[in-house]
Symmetry: C2
Subunit: 432 residues, 2 copies
């Protein structure tokens, strides 16, 4: 029998507990399928006083016990957050241990350096669970899609926001109520900023973008805008226009540049992505050979994430047996410059409230026209009464033709400053 792969687990939260449970409960099945036992040797916890369901002799609150243990082959990091996870990963690699991590923040911020350290030390680092939970998305880029020139990724990669948007779309719930509900169900954290502001999705897009475009992508290269400004009305209008509203992570390469942005977007209801509801995630990729493909599944949670973590462990178990468990340093082309958000070109949905007076609509189209933004369609909606009963307001919804972001933003400021315009309700980009 091949000796076991000895695993040190950092973190025993929701994901860590599921990984530990799978390694213990499925030990026989995994040994059979892998051809080698996977032995859970040590588990790092934060609070040693909390009762745990696993063998207390495995547990330690001291990271050194695990990171300095010469009998541990592989460190599995499922603590989350940048620190101390980043330090521990680097320490483990430098000590010649392989690493499996589910940490999107660490991989997005420090991925290239971590891969370089692993390459230098001749060890492996895998991070399939960092994006899309149990959906295989990292693996396909590393191998299955390698013959392709990829020019587009579009993804729903944050389950929290997709749950909130699904609630708003189906029940007319407002953002605050939907968020509170997501928090109650455990889909959103007490401090939900990372999710609702698109930061979590931007980390994941940085990871996917690096792989898809063979270019080092930093989180700072990814524009992000959150969902808290969306109103129930936007979902109603979008539906009438044949669109769904989703928080999309978009990576696109053309004309020697790559653009990466996370923001709410209107997408046609006929697209598969529009049908991804609740906490589900989906990633679509377009390659010159393969055309459009899509991966769909639960993007978070104990089961899916542990499924991906254990797949990485299994791969490592195979490769250590074969003596080839060394990271393959990514072959960056670095062919692309980054296109700043200001230069990104897209269509826009605009909802605003303006005084219902003659000439107001002409002023708005004039302000847009001055910035060379032309309208594709206009929906003037019923009058709205706000404050002063002497002034009647109308809610106006516009769709523009393709426009560049910077002039569009200038035009919006011009529109907002018109005396007859009460307020800009929302400005949402439209895909494709």
């Amino acid at each position: 029998m091949v000796p076991p792969l000895r695993i040190g687990l950092l973190g025993l939260g929701v994901v860590g507990s599921a990984v530990a449970r799978a390694l213990i409960d499925k030990a026989d099945l995994l040994t059979h399928r892998v051809g080698r036992p996977l032995e859970l040797r040590r588990v790092l916890i934060r609070d040693a006083s909390k009762p745990r369901s696993i063998d207390p002799s495995l547990i330690s609150a001291n990271a050194d016990d695990i990171l300095d243990d010469p009998e541990t082959d592989l460190i599995v990091e499922v603590m989350g957050g940048e620190q101390p996870a980043h330090d521990y990963i680097v320490r483990a690699l430098r000590a010649g241990k392989h690493v499996v991590t589910a940490n999107k923040e660490v991989m997005a911020k420090h991925g290239p350096e971590i891969l370089a350290i692993a390459a230098e030390r001749g060890v492996d680092i895998s991070f399939e669970a960092s994006v899309g939970g149990g959906i295989p998305v990292i693996g396909p880029f590393k191998l299955d899609l390698l013959a392709n020139e990829i020019d587009e990724i579009r993804a729903i990669i944050n389950g929290t926001t997709n749950y909130i948007l699904t609630r708003m779309a189906t029940d007319g719930t407002d953002f605050g109520t939907a968020l509170a509900e997501a928090q109650k169900l455990g889909y959103a954290e007490a401090d939900p900023r990372n999710d609702i502001e698109g930061i979590d999705a931007a980390y994941k897009l940085a990871i996917l973008g690096s792989l898809a475009f063979h270019t080092v992508v930093r989180p700072s290269d990814v524009f992000h805008e959150g969902i808290s400004g969306l109103a129930p009305a936007d979902f109603r209008y979008a539906r009438e226009l044949g669109y769904a509203v989703k928080l999309l992570a978009i990576g696109r390469a053309n004309d020697g540049a790559v653009e990466l942005h996370v923001h709410p977007a209107l997408i046609p209801q006929t697209e598969m992505l529009a049908k991804v509801d609740g906490v589900f995630n989906a990633v679509t990729v377009r390659g010159d050979l393969v055309g459009n493909i899509l991966f769909y599944g639960r993007g978070a949670g104990a089961g899916p994430t542990s499924s991906a973590v254990i797949a990485d462990i299994v791969d490592l178990a195979h490769r250590t047996m074969e003596g080839t468990a060394r990271v393959r340093p990514p072959a960056y082309d670095d062919r692309y410059r980054f296109r700043p958000m200001d230069e990104v070109c897209t269509r826009y949905y605009l909802r605003l409230l303006a005084a219902d007076q003659p000439g107001v609509f002409a002023q708005i189209t004039q302000a847009l026209g001055d910035a060379r933004i032309s309208l594709a369609s206009v929906i003037q909606k019923q009058n709205v009464l706000i404050g002063d009963p002497a002034v009647e307001y109308a809610e106006i919804v516009l769709m523009t033709h393709e426009a560049v972001e910077a002039p569009m933003q200038r035009a919006i400021r011009a529109v907002a400053s018109l005396p007859a315009v009460h307020s800009i309700g929302s400005l949402i980009r439209v895909e494709p």
Copy 2:
């Protein structure tokens, strides 16, 4: 520089030409990404007199030139069909060459033997392109899902039939017209039986089922029923009832048995699978950890298939460099018996034509009730005039509760033999 991986290509049809073109046109990109040149050394063609767009010195009509060439490391088989492809694959493996194949028929019928030969000779065989074109579906079973107990696969894995069914659903086209159109567009072959009778999908399900259930599945273990019996009316009724009609490949494991069947099925319009239209394919998998995941994309065609073939070549190029290009023999559990179709339990949609007379409906429910089949819903449709104007017929559509296949089939024969029943229009299984 690492020496090139030298490739012998068997077949220069649609897929073979695309593979050759990608290897030649993308040589620099692939060398950079793989870390090793991929050299197209020889190409087997059937008809040497036909003009070709690739270097004539590479071409041969004699398989021995390629299979006996000691300078060839890898044979890529994209001829299709059982013979001579099967012989060539076995010859190549026995000669110590690695093999990449897109051949579902050979892998479905002879996969276990071929894997055993490769293992014995210490070479590798890959077949990602045999199912789902460029969608990564084989890889995920071999690695990403390995920690899961999979209890269900449901797949749309034949683009020809999905194109025909989409046409029938959207335009009310009848089967013959939709088939002729698919043939005109090159989506269906002159002899379309393999596709429309579900044989092609059954091959693919045998391959997926072996991987998902860790059990040797033979094509004869897979029940299949085609789509030629479907009428435009079925699509109309299905839509009214909230369903789409798809040719589904289903694998399901429970109670120590696995069942595998390919047939038209009604699936709820809310399911992602119901939205897979045209020549697209999709595979859903349910695992105990990962939950439901879905892979979607073009299941056939030159680009997608060559994308998967080259991914397999790239993997092999890596692994030969590392000295680990040996097939990992699958770890079969063989825990399951096969449940014959007669014992499969499902709901049914039944459309029939009966005389519009008092008591007829009671006779039908009696015949079904005798076999312990109970009705979930009944739609009696408008009267139809057939032949004899003295007799009025009514089209009746029924949905049953769950029933077992054998008694259901007996009940249908009993219903069909009722004097008042003109004909059974169709019997379609309902998912889930």
